[in-house]
């Protein structure tokens, strides 16, 4: 028994040095050297200031922007640290709603959101990703259908033709890798940054 204690204690210290310090620090060095943009969080810089990460979704409410999906992330209540409050797209506290499929709260929420969206664009069925929260609460993407669904609203708010906006959506639609892997998606933040770049006023 006793002769196992020395190797056990020494090994855990040595493994900590090898896999817990040398490995992650070497990886950090290599990553910073080879892929500095990705290694630092794929930040987008506009006018010298970071305005977000291409990988992390943001909340959008304005009519002239494409909206991201509902988000269930929370934050500590500033008034009472033992409670949490809703804080969509809180990128320092990721998480989903964890509502089960038979939850009354889930169905109530979806019903209200779907009714609002159906009123906004009665011509299309509501895409399911626009009424469901993502697993991370930080989903940067929506489906192409969800982007097309929002085209009439965005075009009207910006005074653009629907065709022009639709072209922009098409340009931002990323297909499956090699035609097989993953799902087609549209990165909302990049799309909205380009919308701003069209130099038309943002309708609020």
């Amino acid at each position: 028994m006793l002769h196992h204690i020395r190797p056990a204690c020494t090994m855990i210290v040595l493994m900590t040095i090898v896999t817990g310090l040398a490995y992650p620090l070497a990886m950090t060095g290599a990553a910073q050297l080879l892929f500095p943009r990705q290694a630092n969080g794929s930040l987008i810089v506009r006018d010298g200031k970071p305005i977000g990460s291409t990988l992390i979704g943001q909340a959008f409410a304005g009519e002239g922007y494409f909206h991201t999906r509902p988000s269930a992330t929370t934050d500590t209540d500033p008034a009472d640290a033992t409670k949490t409050i809703a804080a969509p797209y809180n990128a320092a506290n990721s998480g989903g709603s964890n509502l089960g499929p038979t939850s009354q709260a889930l169905i109530d929420r979806v019903k209200a959101d779907a009714a609002a969206l159906a009123a906004e664009n009665p011509a299309m069925p509501v895409p399911v990703d626009l009424v469901t929260t993502s697993a991370s609460g930080l989903d940067p993407d929506i489906t192409p259908a969800a982007a097309l669904f929002q085209v009439p609203r965005v075009a009207k708010a910006r005074g653009l033709t629907q065709d022009r906006v639709r072209q922009l959506v098409a340009a931002h639609t990323e297909g499956r890798l090699a035609g097989i892997i993953g799902e087609p998606h549209v990165n909302v933040l990049l799309l909205n940054v380009d919308l701003d770049g069209l130099a038309f006023p943002v309708g609020k």
Binding site: H4, I5, R6, A8, T10, I12, L14, T16, T19, G20, Y23, M27, L34, F35, Q38, A39, N40, S42, I51, G52, S53, T54, L55, I56, Q58, A59, Y65, N90, A91, A92, N93, S94, G95, G96, N98, L99, G100, P101, T102, Q104, V110, A114, A115, P125, V126, V128, T132, T133, S134, A135, S136, D141, T143, R176, I180, I181, G182, E183, V193, D196
Partner: protein
């Protein structure tokens, strides 16, 4: 369900089959002590590690010494990880100035990472400093995985050796696994993950102002180095709360495919290592086939249930073709989420790329069943193979009863001792899973933690103990698990599920190694064909079915029926 969905599943299977043989060959050579292309770099480090810790690499161990070495090492790891968490406020690499982790949570987390469970009662980005993530959690991602692989090797040697007293040296097996298998793959694939967008930095969290003028704080950190070993070692503990659903952990469909392959690759390769070491690769492929059959069955059910979507949405003017997207990411969609969920629970990984709590009832049943069966479908690194071999021993015993002949497997006679020990290892799981659940659902400390009411709330508690005992670590995450009662009982469940299975398993290894190998005769039951595969699958499903059916009926099955009938439940708490 779409043609593209089936193509994605088929592609995954094809890549897995292609990986199995080369990785199996490489690992066999590593553990037999042969030189590898990496030896010039790694061999001096390996020798240095042995010298400093006083290990004689030429001396092999009796099964009991092997077990004690493993247990002592695990305890030392537990103690160091506990200390790191309690002291993090005073240590470097803590740019967010996070406080010490409370004692019950630090206990739960230490047990969790040492047992390869990686259950997370905490939100990492608001609880753990970069130092704890690197020098604490990442280290255990390596060594708990290497411990699992070492144990599987010990059992394989039990089958492959004749009249031997020893089953290898724990220190050597563990060290070689870390240095020659886990580290090189982590370095290469870790950099691929960075290339696709996984951060790797020591910066403080980034504050930005969004397009609409709101403030957003973006959590950062040394993510990639932990992400890759989290998957490759089937650990599953996320750098962020949302785990592999977080865009920084798993940014694209490609990284998702890589992560799924990482989870299964060692488990699959070990079947090949097994075949090679017992002298017949077909024996390994037979085990592989058992795993593949069970894997495809689970995937089929999960994919079908998720693609069908929530019937309660049908009346709400929502596109019915979208499937169940609550708790899922758009870039993965239905197929890659259902596939990932099945894989992560077939193995003892427990990483998630979609929230299991929000799956359709029957889809949520699949991860539960996968873990209940013992995570033997490719399984946790090492634990999958030795868990499966326990079932093989029972299956051969059943076959022996049917023909009235002493059962044997690979020329080793399976006698009362082996069968008793195998049953002991198998029965520990239901005892802990069902026993703790029964306790938790009748006392307020358990029921208060449920986030959903009705059968779904029961599923949340059942899943927690199933996941902890199975050392999986995934969760029906609505459960508020960070309470003293749940932290402590879940910690105990993890210890039972890990060590009470390992000790009988090593006893079998020691006992088998001592036996002679009887030559095959016409009366020997062939263990490399379809009949064997069918028999083992049957024994696994019948054992699991008899044990767990009542509990499953109370959770997912009742919920499915209620959902079909249009019943909804108010939220718990």
């Amino acid at each position: 369900m779409t043609i593209n969905g089936w193509l994605q599943i088929a592609l995954f299977c094809a890549l897995l089959i292609m990986l199995t043989k080369p990785l199996g060959l490489y690992m066999t050579r590593v553990f037999e002590g042969a030189r590898s292309p990496l030896s010039p770099v790694l061999r001096p480090i390996e020798r240095g590690l042995y010298r400093l810790s006083g290990v004689d690499e030429t001396r092999e161990q009796h099964w009991l010494a092997y077990a004690i070495a493993m247990l002592t090492f695990s305890f030392a790891g537990f103690a160091s990880l506990y200390a790191l968490q309690r002291l993090q406020a005073m240590l470097p690499f803590n740019p967010q100035a996070l406080d010490a982790v409370p004692p019950d949570l630090a206990f739960n987390t230490s047990v969790s990472f040492v047992t390869n469970t990686n259950w997370q009662s905490y939100v990492p980005e608001t609880t753990m400093s970069y130092l704890v993530q690197m020098a604490g959690l990442t280290v255990h991602n390596f060594v708990s995985a290497a411990t699992g692989v070492a144990l599987a090797l010990a059992l394989i040697r039990g089958f492959s050796r004749r009249s031997a007293e020893t089953i290898g040296n724990f220190w050597v097996d563990m060290t070689r696994c870390v240095l020659y298998v886990l580290l090189p793959v982590s370095i290469v694939i870790g950099l691929v993950l960075v290339w696709r967008g996984v951060p790797q930095n020591l910066n403080a969290y980034t504050d930005i102002v969004t397009l609409e003028g709101a403030k957003q704080t973006i959590a950062q950190g040394p993510v990639a180095s932990q992400e890759v070993i989290k998957m490759f070692g089937t650990n599953g503990g996320g750098f962020f709360n949302a785990n592999s659903a977080h865009p920084f952990e798993n940014p694209t469909a490609l990284t998702n495919l890589i992560q799924m392959l990482l989870i299964f690759s060692i488990g699959a390769a070990l079947t090949n290592v097994f075949g090679r070491m017992v002298g017949n690769q077909r024996q390994g492929w037979a085990i592989f086939a058992v795993m593949m059959v069970l894997f495809l069955a689970g995937t089929l059910v999960a994919y079908w249930a998720e693609a069908a979507g929530n019937p309660a949405f049908a009346a709400l003017h929502i596109d019915p073709l979208g499937g169940n997207m609550e708790g899922k990411e758009v870039r993965f969609g239905i197929t890659a989420s259902a596939l990932f969920t099945t894989i992560t629970t077939d193995a003892s990984c427990g990483a998630v790329n979609a929230m299991i709590d929000s799956l359709m009832p029957l889809a949520g049943m699949i991860p539960m069943v996968n873990i209940m069966l013992g995570e033997i479908i490719f399984g946790g690194v090492g634990s999958g193979l030795y868990g499966m071999l326990l079932f093989v021993i029972v299956a051969m015993f059943v076959a022996g009863l049917m023909v009235g002949r002493t059962p044997e497997y690979l020329g080793k006679k399976l006698e009362a001792k082996e069968v008793k020990m195998a049953m002991l290892g198998i029965l520990i799981l239901p005892l802990s899973m069902l026993g703790f659940t029964a306790l938790a659902v009748v006392i307020p400390a358990g029921t208060d933690a449920m986030a959903n009411a009705g059968p779904h709330g029961f599923s949340e508690v059942l899943y927690a103990y199933v996941s902890a005992t199975g050392n999986n670590g995934s969760a029906f995450a609505g459960l508020s698990a960070n309470t003293p009662f749940l932290n402590s009982t879940l910690g105990l469940a993890m210890v039972f599920g890990r060590f009470l299975v390992i000790v009988p398993m090593l006893a079998i290894a020691g006992s088998l190694a001592r036996k002679k190998i009887v030559p095959t005769s016409t009366g020997t039951f062939p263990t490399d064909g379809g009949l064997f595969v069918g028999l083992v699958v049957g024994v696994i499903l019948i054992t699991g079915g008899l044990t767990f059916l009542p509990a499953i009926a109370l959770g997912p099955v009742v919920e499915h029926l209620a959902m079909q009938a249009g019943t909804l439940f108010n939220t718990g708490n």
